[in-house]
Subunit: 202 residues, 2 copies
DNA sequence: TTGAGATTTCAGTTAATCGTGAAATAAAGT
DNA sequence: ACTTTATTTCACGATTAACTGAAATCTCAA
């Protein structure tokens, strides 16, 4: 049926696998920067980029990591809600597949990071605000200033958190809509910032 | 002049220092989560929360870290644009003080993180997209899918990057305006019920 | 209930990161 | 030019986080 491909299939396949590997590698490196373990990011990348459901052993051999490591990574990814378990009839193994919608995936990532990064800071800020000497009419200047600074940070992150909860919630087109909305809105100077990015990979 | 304070000054001062220390500690912990070295975050926190210009030795003794460490941290913070050098007449030492505007500070942090986290990924994605077997009419299905997935991720991050450049640029009220704008905008379903999240920490 | 296969746990190891301190360099005063 | 004081650099050691592998636990079919 199909006319003979111009490039031998084995070659195409090799390129394909290489592209996948590169994607996996850079997503993994990204993970480190984000404070996510490299393997966890790699497992996710693998499942996303291949789109296939895979079992523990397949993941192990493809990424060359240990069983325990895969187990823990997969568990975290399930908690994040970016992959899910799949049962295959007549097979006792568990298979996993990645959420395929990018925005949903990005929202999940954003949500999880906010939870881990911003929320705890807010808690501490509240606590410190109460603990610190209360500013009153005749407090020394520095006490007033301290309170003011704590409150300023608290408010800043407060706004950010509110927004995130609104826009990165698990369901709804939050992030995507926000992105479009913002992309349109004319803020301050409308300088059409240099496109700039000519792939300079450092 | 001032009427006798109800609380001895030494005590107020101790509380003040403790509040500062707590702020510094949690900002520092935050730093680790962000892939910023703990000390760098602590130095920044110290300069921000005290609002005072400080020299290397003062920072060293207050945080209990080495000279070299302070030197490197301060340098990074200068690059990030969140602190600046201050010269004090008749003193050979360099003093440093932190940007006091929270939004400007938050923008700087966002900007720097995007630069380190998102931009490199985009570069790689572009590269992979070109490198991978090109999808054509008679490509096998998986090649087409691979290209589609790469493009989807690329586009998602592309939107995010564009936004960030627009809103987290070094000058202008970008982030702040965006925040207000979004906080107001009705996104998707205008389902008004369940206030639901009671500022609940965590 | 048993057991083969699948998954999870975790103590020990390895890898990556961070911080130190002293030596090298730079800057300012005499 | 020389001395003094401040700053930066960097090889090394310390600290922390990640990963391994094998034992323990779980699951399901018979």
């Amino acid at each position: 049926m199909t006319p003979k491909p111009r490039v031998p299939n084995v070659l195409v396949r090799a390129q394909l696998v290489e592209a996948e590997d590169r994607f996996i590698a850079s997503w993994g490196r990204m993970g480190s920067v984000w404070g996510i373990s490299r393997t966890m990011a790699e497992v996710h990348a693998l499942l996303y980029i291949t789109g296939t459901e895979m079992c523990t052993d397949e993941i192990m051999s493809r990424l060359g990591v240990s069983r325990g490591n895969v187990s823990m990574s997969v568990r975290s990814l399930l908690e994040w809600g970016v992959i899910e378990k799949v049962r295959i009839a007549g097979d006792r193994k568990e298979y996993f597949q990645a959420e395929q919608d990018v925005w949903s995936m990005l929202r999940a990532i954003a949500r999880e990071r906010i939870k881990r990064e911003v929320d705890p800071l807010l808690d501490v800020l509240d606590e410190i605000g109460e603990l610190a000497p209360q500013a009153s009419r005749n407090s020394p200047k520095d006490v007033k200033e301290l309170q003011a600074r704590i409150e300023a940070v608290r408010d800043g992150f407060g706004v950010i958190t509110t927004l995130s909860h609104k826009f990165a919630g698990p369901r709804g087109a939050g992030l995507q809509t926000a992105a479009k909305l913002l992309a349109r809105a004319p803020i301050g100077r409308t300088k059409k910032h240099t496109p700039k990015r000519t792939g300079g990979t450092r």
